[in-house]
């Protein structure tokens, strides 16, 4: 055994590529030490992206955007901890605010936030961290989060990490007040808190508590006591604790030594530190770099920086050194030890890029940045920069420091840095100041701007036009203010000119940014949607197919059943039966193909009865058969049915009697069922007889199941050769083996194996594989091994397994083989097995195999050694495999041990591990164990996922225990809401939930409101809002819901209400959607409410330009409002003003909307005047846009005569080719528009070249499915001697195909998109070459 353990240790040094997976073992396992960051990886169990696999997460289809952003943030937090072992303050705050905004923080969200307020924030001063923790604690409590022991314990941990001074007794009192019972972890941490202060007496008091409550005293307590005595100044007692521990049967672990080392460090006793490190080297434990970093930190903090190098040089630069060391540096800087941080920084392993091209890598950016953020003095930063530059660690440290300074708006520091740079002869440029200016510009901070400008002057940098236009002028309310503030006097002409240019640029800019972009909706991925629907459906207790349109039910049903496992189907058999009945009563028709699919699945799951009708049919059939025979009619079909029915009822004898009676009418199908039944009844002789009889129809084959039944019965009776013949016959007749048959084959082999009949199994297995009947799988190979194991021949089993691996690349039952070898102590064979696996499957696999074998055989100590092999990382699949095995076999001890020893395993999903444990607790109904698991999770700082909490709550509840924490019950409603796609059903669900007193967060209410509004159910939506307000005092509609509400109100002509709601929205700082504003303005326009439009325009302007609304929305609708009020002259006047005075943008402004409305309303009086205006603008001002718009609106409305007339009076319309072209392209996007294009062509014959026109016409025909016209067009093209392009032909070919005709030419093989791209490329190339 020892030899094996040694082979595991080798891994540390072996350069096996497997272990050098990038990012592997980047972080050492977390240590539950006192202060050093335990940035564990999977401790952030809530990150939802990781939960993609877990079914309850996948089904949330109706998520709000807010929730998505929140999930994104959580995932980001998780990845931040994963990559760097730290979290930034900004990220944490952002998530905190998001949680506050969504309302109703869940218990584990709170836990997540609290836990992040300790050493995960190395960039924040300790006091600030605690302050933040308290802020989060209070705020979330206010929002309704309820705290349990896990939260109090997390807060304690944060206190310890932040060295926060507090009174442990007060803390306990507070917990008592909140009636949260303290647990083991609470006491442990309180002891640690006393010890941090050196208060041994206090610690002893708590220790007494623990003893009286019979709580175990763990290593963590002793470790605290080491620090406690040291802090009390009693090093002797501190050292003495180690022997006390040994006396109590607890071996001092790495954390114990770390506590001791830190104590020496605080005293600056480097001699003792060295001595202790040597002692550790001689024990079984080993300290990691991370531990040494803790010692460095303690040394620096206590002011013994001179000893730091001696500890630093002992670091081994393990993988993961850099991020850990970065965190150390950050902490040192935060706590004012930046000089030590620089010492550590210089020990960073240099990056390899350096040597390659002689470039200097930029090391220490993080260091400089954090120094800037912590407001270290400029002289220090300049000094550090020089050192880094001289040491060739950084190419431009000063420039980078400056970058950080301007980015963080540190004007003074930036100025000092630039002064130094200037003295060094480095260039100072205007854009260096821009980031500083942006900060002031945002705050409209004029003095700030002036200060920066003065700084520029001091450094003799002249602000250029860009500086003024982009960063200075926009901060001022107007030009005059700018000029006054900048004191532009006569004589300063260059500044004045720059300012003016700047102003011009600025004003123009604001016009340019008024572009309208249409919102795009993400395409819904149907398959994903269906997936989530199904997983939601599976868990619903009430199913109702009425949710779906009938034609989809069948396919949905198929998918549903397909997605269920065999176990699930069997478990829910009764339920499924009900649904089939329900479907039948609903007259839902299931197409034959889908029926077959469902039947196949059910067959494979061994529940074919589900689709069978009522039994006992054979009585009827027998009568029927007799009748038919009496009438002399053919009986084969009924005979077969009868035999099948009898066989289904296992009535073999009767079936054989019938067979004997009707021998000559037997068909193969009837024989087949009989053969099957005989085989099942172990009647090999009869089965073979029947088989021979059936052979009269020799060309027909039996199906695979029947063959295998024969093989089974034959091999069972030792008729191996005949069995082999059957297999050969299967091959000859090309019998197909599907998955369920393969399972059957396994059972055939296994049956033989259970008798220990190695020869038979070997023969059958070899034959099947040799014949190529099935592909060799691990499962199919395993019976052979089983046969060996069954006879206790482990080395034989290993040989067989190795043989399998050689031949079929399968390693069946290797776990059982290794377990057997370990158990039996067959060391030599075991070594052989390990060598083999290691060579064939890699060391990692070998180690896991060995690990599981030790676990299985209860050799936990050995197992722990294996799992602690450096470089080993979690393999979730394999851990799950073992856990499931333990759960299935009720092996609590093994599972507990596995969870225990994997604590420090790299990348081990701790929540998942505890979830396994809880599942077993549930199976075994052990609530006490479950509660202990929960405490253990707190000790380990694991944040449980919701599913884990729910499971724990269920266990406690079902044993009649009080659940000591908040269970997220609303989840179920969420899930249901997410599957319901019909708004009214969602509404009913919510009403039900309301009646039951279930309160949801704001998000689901908002979601339902939105879907109701989208369906136009204003009243229902308002009812939901009432429900929400009654539960959530501050409930308000989200931006999106509010916008929808406005749109709905406008649609219902309730423009006043809509207007009022817009104002409320803006007061709440919400941003309405572009569409909502547009609709509202249109509504106001059609009511003739000019003032209303003005008011909205004002409100929107105050919002800033972010809405991307075109000014024309307001203008056009104002015009329409005037017309509505009968004041056409005002309308004309305002349009004319726009066109004649609007400057550059005038000729592109479209008034088509106005014309369209007027034409739609048949307001000829207004139309006349507008038409006159359009002509006037065209003829007098050469502004053709309005005339062209009108022309096209006539076309659009089918008023061709008027269009023609318009064209005659204003010939220049024909010149507006771009507009006309875009009209055509737009028309060709929808079916039924071809005539518009044709009319256009008639009126303006040369608005487009023929080629383009034809291709658009073909597009239209394609949309209209008008093959006849398309054919005619094709003929015309050919007559005109033109070569149609591939896109044209592709469209035509599809038309032919859809009509079921063969195209007279070859259909272009590629996709539409391909040819469209090709054409685009071609056009581009032509244009380009035309330009040359």
């Amino acid at each position: 055994m020892a030899a094996l353990l040694r082979s595991a240790r080798v891994l540390r040094f072996s350069p096996s590529p497997l272990l050098y997976v990038p990012g592997a073992a980047k972080y050492g396992p977390p240590r539950s030490g006192l202060a050093w960051p335990c940035a564990s990886l999977r401790q952030y169990g809530v990150a939802p992206q990781q939960q993609g696999v877990s079914k309850d997460e996948a089904s949330i289809g109706l998520r709000t955007k807010q929730a998505q952003q929140f999930d994104w943030a959580l995932a980001k937090l998780d990845s931040s901890v994963r990559r760097t072992g730290r979290v930034t303050k900004t990220l944490l705050l952002r998530i905190f605010h998001d949680i506050c905004r969504t309302g109703y923080p869940s218990g584990n969200q709170a836990l997540l936030l609290l836990r992040s307020c300790g050493s995960l924030l190395p960039e924040m001063p300790l006091a600030e961290r605690t302050e933040l923790a308290h802020r989060i604690w209070d705020k979330l409590q206010e929002l309704g989060a309820s705290y349990d022991a896990s939260h109090y314990n997390a807060l304690l941990k944060v206190y310890l990490q932040n060295e926060h001074k507090f009174s442990p007794t007060d803390f306990l009192a507070k917990m008592e007040e909140a009636s949260v019972p303290a647990n083991r972890v609470t006491y442990q941490r309180l002891i640690a808190a006393y010890c941090q202060e050196g208060d041994i007496e206090g610690a002893s008091k708590i220790l007494g508590f623990m003893k009286s409550k019979d709580l175990p005293i763990t290593e963590a307590v002793f470790n605290s006591l080491v620090s406690g005595h040291a802090h009390a100044g009693d090093m002797g007692s501190a050292e003495g604790i180690l022997s006390v521990m040994k006396g109590a049967g607890i071996e001092p672990g790495p954390d114990t030594y770390l506590a001791l080392l830190s104590a020496y460090a605080e005293k600056g006793d480097i001699a003792k530190i060295k001595l202790t490190l040597e002692t550790v080297d001689n024990t079984d434990t080993s300290l990691m770099d991370r531990d040494l970093m803790q010692v460095v930190f303690s040394l620096a903090k206590a002011g013994y920086e001179q000893h730091v190098p001696e500890v630093v040089e002992r670091m081994r630069h393990e993988r993961g050194y850099v991020p850990d060391a970065m965190n150390l540096c950050l902490s040192l800087i935060t706590q004012g030890r930046e000089d030590t941080a620089l010492t550590v920084l210089k020990t960073f392993p240099s990056l390899q890029v350096e040597s390659e091209n002689g470039e200097v890598p930029d090391l220490g950016n993080f260091f400089l940045r954090h120094c800037v953020n912590m407001e270290k003095p400029a002289e220090k930063l300049i000094k550090y920069s020089r050192e880094l530059k001289d040491a060739k660690l950084h190419s431009g440290p000063l420039q980078f420091t400056l970058y950080c300074a301007v980015e963080a708006n540190k004007t003074r520091l930036a100025m000092e840095l630039m002064t130094d740079m200037k003295a060094e002869g480095l260039p100072i440029r205007p854009h260096f100041f821009w980031p500083l200016l942006t900060h002031h510009q945002r705050d409209k901070n004029i003095p700030g701007i002036l200060e920066v400008l003065r700084g520029m002057q001091q450094l003799e940098v002249m602000p250029d036009v860009e500086t003024y236009s982009n960063y200075v002028v926009p901060a001022f309310p107007n030009m005059d203010a700018a000029r006054a503030a900048l004191q532009v006097k006569r004589g300063h002409t260059d500044i004045a000119i720059r300012l003016i240019v700047a102003a011009l640029i600025y004003i123009n800019m604001s016009f340019c940014s008024l572009t309208v972009s249409s919102p795009t909706f993400p395409a819904t991925d149907l398959s994903v949607f269906r997936g989530s629907l199904i997983s939601g459906f599976k868990r619903l207790s009430v199913w109702s197919f009425s949710l779906f349109p009938a034609e989809n039910v069948a396919y949905f049903l198929y998918n549903l059943i397909d997605s269920m496992t065999e176990g699930e189907v069997q478990a829910k058999e009764e339920k499924l039966r009900q649904y089939f009945a329900q479907l039948k009563s609903l007259n839902v028709f299931i197409p034959v193909t889908i029926y077959r699919g469902i039947r196949n699945i059910l067959d494979a799951y061994h529940v074919p009865e589900l689709i069978k009708g009522p039994e006992g049919r054979f009585v009827v059939l027998e009568t029927r058969l007799a009748e038919l025979r009496a009438e002399g009619k053919p009986v084969s079909a009924v005979l077969k049915q009868l035999i099948q029915a009898l066989c289904a009822e296992e009535k073999l004898e009767r079936a054989l009697e019938i067979k004997a009676q009707f021998e000559q009418d037997m068909v193969v199908g009837a024989y087949a069922v009989l053969i099957n039944l005989c085989s099942r009844h172990d009647n090999a002789d009869e089965a073979m007889n029947l088989k021979r009889e059936a052979r009269k129809d020799s060309h027909v084959a039996l199906d695979a199941t029947k063959y295998l039944a024969l093989v089974r019965v034959l091999s069972k009776h030792g008729r191996l050769e005949e069995a082999i013949d059957m297999l050969k016959e299967m091959k000859e007749k090309d019998v197909v083996l599907n998955d369920s048959v393969v399972t059957q084959l396994f059972h055939v082999l296994n049956a033989a194996a259970m008798k220990g009949d190695v020869a038979t199994v070997q023969r059958l297995q070899d034959t099947t594989f040799a014949l190529g009947l099935v592909k060799p799988t691990a499962n199919l190979c395993s019976p052979l091994i089983s046969a060996h194991l069954e006879s206790g021949n482990y080395s034989g089993a290993l040989e067989a397994a190795m043989e399998c691996h050689q031949q079929y690349n399968q390693l069946p039952r290797i776990h059982d083989i290794i377990c057997g070898l370990v158990e039996k102590g067959e060391m030599e064979t075991l070594q052989k097995a390990m060598d083999f696996i290691s060579q064939e499957r890699g060391e990692m696999t070998m180690l896991y195999d060995l690990f599981f074998a030790f676990m299985q055989t209860r050799r936990y100590k050995e197992a722990r050694k294996i799992i602690e092999t450096p470089g080993l990382r979690a393999r979730p699949g394999r851990l799950q495999w073992f856990a499931e095995k333990c759960i299935a076999n009720n092996q609590m001890e093994a599972l507990e041990n596995m969870v225990d020893v994997t604590e420090k395993l790299f990348e081990c999903d701790r929540d998942e591990m505890y979830h396994y444990l809880l599942r077993l607790c549930q199976e075994s109904n052990d609530w006490r164990k479950a509660e202990a698991v929960w405490t253990k999770m707190q000790e380990e700082n694991v944040i449980p996922r919701e599913k884990t909490l729910r499971l724990l709550a269920n266990i406690l509840k079902s044993s009649g225990q009080v659940v000591p924490f908040d269970v997220p019950e609303v989840r179920l409603i969420h899930t249901r809401l997410s599957v319901v796609t019909v708004p009214s059903l969602a509404f009913n669900l919510l009403k039900d939930a309301d009646k039951k007193g279930v309160v949801l967060g704001p998000a689901p209410y908002d979601g339902v409101i939105r879907s109701l509004l989208a369906a136009g159910s204003l009243e229902d939506a308002m009812a939901v809002r009432e429900i929400a307000i009654s539960h959530i005092p501050g409930f308000k509609l989200s931006d999106m819901a509010s916008s929808l509400l406005i749109i709905t109100q406008v649609k219902r002509n309730e423009v006043k209400d809509a207007m009022a709601h817009l104002k409320t929205m803006l007061q709440l700082d919400q941003v309405p959607s572009q569409l909502a504003i547009t609709r509202l303005v249109q509504g106001l326009g059609s009511h003739g409410d000019v003032h209303g439009i003005e008011e909205v325009e004002g409100l929107v302007k105050a919002l800033g330009t972010s809405l991307n609304l075109s000014r024309m929305v307001f203008l056009n609708n104002t015009v329409l409002a005037h017309i509505k009020n009968g004041d056409v002259d005002r309308a004309v006047e305002s349009l004319e003003t726009l066109y004649t005075q609007g400057g550059d943008t005038a000729h592109t402004s479209s008034v088509a909307f106005v014309f369209r409305k007027v034409i739609e309303e048949n307001n000829d009086a207004a139309l006349d005047k507008l038409s006159a205006m359009a002509e006037r603008l065209a003829n007098h001002f050469a502004l053709y846009r309005p005339a062209t718009d009108l022309f096209m609106q006539y076309l659009e409305a089918g008023r061709v005569e008027e269009a023609k007339f318009m064209l005659q009076r204003c010939a220049a319309i024909a010149e507006q080719r771009e507009i006309l072209l875009s009209y055509m392209t737009k028309a060709a996007q929808e079916p039924g528009q071809v005539n518009k294009i044709k009319t256009m062509k008639e009126l303006v014959p040369d608005f487009v070249d023929k080629e383009t026109l034809y291709s658009y016409l073909m597009k239209c025909y394609g949309l209209d499915k008008d093959l006849a016209s398309a054919k005619a067009l094709h003929d015309q093209v050919q007559q005109e001697g033109m070569q149609p392009d591939e896109l044209f032909l592709k469209r035509l070919a599809v038309l032919y195909r859809d009509a079921g005709e063969a195209a007279p030419f070859q259909e272009p093989p590629e996709s539409f998109k391909f040819y469209a791209e090709k054409l685009r490329e071609k056009t581009k190339a032509q244009t380009a070459s035309a330009d040359d």
Partner: protein, 100 residues
């Protein structure tokens, strides 16, 4: 309906240090040929440029000269220069206002 654009000889430059602005870019890339265009977009929200730039030469020769040199070092930093694959299209001015 490709927008009519004169054929340009453009390179796309990335990894530009923050201390460099258009003027320095023009100076540096001017050594390879006459520059017709230099576009180094700045983010007006932050005041920093985005780290990439388009340089347009008036002749193919300039373009080839620029592409031949490797590495390109500007103020001690190595920048990446490649032929511009995608034409830089200005924001389209045409817009749908039918629905206004």
């Amino acid at each position: 309906m490709a927008a009519s654009s004169k054929k340009v000889f453009e390179v796309f430059v990335s990894k530009i240090p923050w201390t460099v602005a258009s003027k320095e870019m023009k100076e540096y890339f001017g050594q390879f040929g006459q520059i017709k265009k230099c576009l180094l977009p700045f983010d007006k929200e932050t005041g920093f440029h985005r780290g990439f730039c388009w340089i347009g030469y008036s002749t193919d020769e300039g373009l080839q000269n620029a592409l031949q040199k490797d590495p390109h070092i500007i103020e001690g930093s190595r920048i990446q220069v490649q032929r511009n694959r995608k034409a830089f299209l200005g924001r389209k001015a045409t817009k749908e206002e039918d629905d206004s």
